[in-house]
């Protein structure tokens, strides 16, 4: 039992955060808002050179063979800087879904080709899970992984119809994407399709949860800075208990959302078939913390918090958007509710880490089962 990250994991996360903090500044984010595609090409190239898209791809398929636990702190770092580019989505949603398809021998050699393109930086992939009516950066995608019923389709960009919509978050480029569920593009249907989509939903919710935690961290830091500098009645407004308590409440929710998100990453990695509860808990807890952070940090900024000029809006609006992606709070709470009502649900202090807590079942057998 060890619920901490390794030194390597912490070091990579720290390095990622340092690079991103230097490159993804509020000014450069705002510069993207007035461009057509909303992407910072030089940053995209830099990220490509770091090989991030290969992190979760097995070594046999040309990747680094790492797991969700290795990447979760990096996803959090992407949220911390409110990275507009869909890096986390490529790494933790698109790549693993392509890998799943290759593993099952679906779609001839097409899937491997697309996966290679993703790893080499020559192909952007957008994933359109049925739970998400809107796809971010659809116009920049070369390939789409789309759902129709339980079917999974790999569709080239020139075969889809993109209807762009304007997001409340100016960093996002959302669209509705239509396509013909043509058998030629179908990778999987029925149970296989359903299984792949279920795993994808969990990876998507986990990716959102990690970013929401990072967003909340950054919002609190900004509010602390602002209330430490801004003076009224001859002293910093942050010296007032009423203001302190606004932010302390966010800190508490955030501190207790983090381990939940990390547990979900671990479960999704080692036991994906049983990750529903852990992932839904993570998305619900991270959403709660990030939405509270948005509200309280706007309040702590006073009138400035309600302006376009204040950079806080970059983080706040992303949180409002990500809260809706990959299942909103209602969806995830409903999944937990259903689970809690099941007579066979394992509840109580001896089941924090699932059935493996029961001593009669050695850990190795449980893993095999």
């Amino acid at each position: 039992m060890d619920a901490t990250f390794t030194d390597d994991q912490l070091t990579f996360a720290e390095a990622t955060r340092a690079v991103l903090t230097g490159e993804v500044t509020p000014d450069r984010v705002r510069a993207r808002w007035s461009t057509e595609d909303g992407l910072d090409q030089s940053l995209m190239e830099q990220i490509q050179s770091l090989g991030l898209n290969s992190v979760l791809v097995p070594e046999a398929l040309g990747g680094l063979g790492l797991g969700q636990t290795d990447f979760i702190l990096m996803a959090q770092a992407c949220g911390y800087v409110a990275l507009p580019e869909p890096v986390v989505e490529q790494v933790t949603i698109a790549a693993p879904l392509l890998v799943d398809a290759v593993d099952r021998g679906l779609g001839d050699g097409r899937v491997q080709t697309v996966l290679d393109g993703l790893q080499q930086g020559t192909a952007q992939i957008a994933v359109g899970h049925p739970i998400n009516p809107l796809i971010n950066f659809a116009h920049s995608a070369d390939w789409f992984l789309l759902g129709h019923g339980e079917g999974l389709y790999l569709v080239p960009a020139d075969e889809v119809v993109i209807k762009p919509l304007k997001s409340m978050d100016p960093s996002r480029r959302i669209a509705e994407v239509g396509f013909d569920a043509d058998a030629a593009y179908c990778l999987a249907q029925g149970d296989v399709g359903a299984e792949l989509w279920r795993a994808t939903l969990n990876r998507g919710a986990l990716a959102s949860a990690a970013q929401l935690v990072g967003l909340a961290e950054a919002m609190v830091e900004q509010a602390v800075r602002y209330t430490s500098d801004r003076e009224q009645f001859g002293r910093a407004v942050g010296a007032n208990q009423a203001v302190k308590h606004l932010l302390a409440d966010v800190a508490v929710q955030l501190e207790y959302a983090k381990p939940v998100v990390y547990r979900a990453a671990y479960t999704a990695e080692v036991s994906p078939g049983r990750a529903d509860f852990a992932v839904s808990h993570a998305k619900a807890a991270a959403t709660r913390a990030a939405l509270l952070a948005s509200r309280q940090c706007i309040q702590a900024h006073g009138a400035m918090g309600y302006t376009w000029e204040c950079d806080l809006q970059i983080w706040v609006k992303r949180a409002w958007a990500l809260a809706r992606e990959w299942g909103d709070e209602g969806f995830h709470k409903n999944r937990i509710h259903e689970w809690l009502l099941r007579p066979e649900a394992l509840l109580g202090p001896d089941f924090t880490f699932g059935r493996r807590s029961i001593t009669e079942v050695p850990a190795s057998e449980e893993e095999a089962a």
Binding site: T4, K244, E255, S357
Partner: protein
């Protein structure tokens, strides 16, 4: 990260489970805030000690098993799962014990720890005074050195378990000229000493769970000074951190309560009209689990030799508000009959101990540093907000 128990940890869990199944009293003990209940709980402490289960993290020489913090969490999980009695000596084993281990002399450890472990000496705590509550540095109770003794005068209040306990530990002003947190010392006092008057204070449930203690020229040997003279504040702060939080309110307590809440909800949900109850039940279950995950994370860090950061100050708010929500929600589920104080076995079977827990939960956000004080600490020490 490896969220699996080792075979050794699994075996330890089984051993704890087997012992508890064989020894936990079949009927709940009367409250330890009654004379009869106090002695029944003392007997339970003795039976734990006889099996070397009194404080598993302590060294074997003091009646423990030298367990690490992960094993401690496993022990607690099994303890609450088994519905074992609350620890009447928690002031001693969770608060004073670790301080003695760190700051006590070998003679002091030999004198106090085994007796504490055996349940022969049950401890009360003596921090607050009428004018020193949240502002603990305002303590005025004096302990003046006189030859080989300290002579204590003054008053303590809100001393938990003091009505039936054997000893009290607390902070006293050993330098009468000193101010604030300087000049305070930690001293151990037998409640049987001449000059001590204990006046019970009834808590919300009508039972004397705490007391006022009056000291009138009470003499204790200088041997009873824990740590250096004038170092009381630092010692108190050192033991007020995470490990104290971990020991005092382990996650299993709330996970077990949340499990019972889910069971109550399953049995009564068809009668529930208030849609917010479903949301509250979910939140209780999730938060109890979040508290456990966070604690495992911190315990793992400590086991690896890491140190706790200021974020640990979040835990008091989290568990106390969780405990309130669990019990408020249970009371809502009980509906009109939740008002009944169970006296018959039939009522007790129907209503359980939710009312007791509900009343006790009111104190959580107040004791051990009010949640308002905790929020100040989080804002200033963890977030770095300005003090003035």
């Amino acid at each position: 990260m490896d969220l699996r128990y080792t075979d050794e940890q699994q075996r330890f869990r089984l051993e704890v489970r087997e012992w508890l199944e064989a020894h936990v009293p079949s009927a709940p003990l009367p409250s330890f805030d009654t004379e009869q209940g106090f002695e029944a709980h003392r007997q339970w402490e003795r039976s734990l000690a006889a099996g070397n289960w009194g404080m598993v993290t302590w060294p074997e020489a003091y009646g423990g098993r030298g367990c690490d913090l992960i094993q401690w969490l496993i022990f607690e999980e099994e303890y609450y799962r088994a519905g074992a009695p609350l620890r009447v000596n928690q002031n001693g084993i969770f608060l004073l014990g670790p301080t003695l281990m760190e700051y006590g002399t070998e003679e002091q450890k030999a004198r106090f720890i085994p007796a504490m472990a055996r349940g022969d000496e049950i401890w009360a705590q003596g921090w607050s005074e009428p004018n020193a509550g949240s502002d603990m540095a305002a303590i005025r109770c004096t302990a003046i050195r006189d030859g080989d003794d300290y002579v204590i005068n003054g008053q303590k209040i809100w001393s938990t378990r003091a009505v039936f306990a054997d000893w009290v530990f607390g902070l006293f002003r050993t330098d009468p000229e000193s101010e604030r947190h300087r000049g305070l010392s930690k001293i151990l006092v037998p409640l049987s000493a001449d000059g001590i008057t204990v006046r019970p204070i009834a808590q919300l449930n009508g039972l004397p769970g705490f007391a006022e203690i009056f000291f009138d020229d009470v003499r204790v040997p200088a041997f009873n000074l824990l740590g250096g003279e004038g170092e009381g504040w630092n010692i108190a702060m050192a033991t007020a951190g995470f490990e104290r939080g971990l020991m005092l309110r382990s996650p299993a307590r709330f996970q077990q309560a949340a499990k019972r809440l889910v069971e109550l909800y399953r049995s009564r949900r068809n009668e529930v009209l208030d849609a917010s109850i479903e949301e509250a039940v979910l939140r209780c279950y999730m938060d109890a689990e979040a508290y456990a995950l966070s604690t495992y994370q911190t315990a793992s860090l400590l086991v690896k030799g890491g140190r706790i950061g200021p974020e640990a100050s979040c835990n008091k708010i989290f568990w106390s508000e969780l405990d309130l929500l669990i019990h408020e929600t249970a009371m809502k589920l009980l509906g009109a009959r939740g008002e009944i104080e169970p006296e018959s076995d039939q009522d007790a079977a129907e209503l359980g101990s939710w009312l007791d827990g509900f009343l006790f939960a009111q104190s959580g956000p107040i004791y051990a540093g009010t949640n308002e004080i905790q929020r100040n600490i989080i804002a200033e020490r963890m977030l770095g907000m300005p003090r003035k």
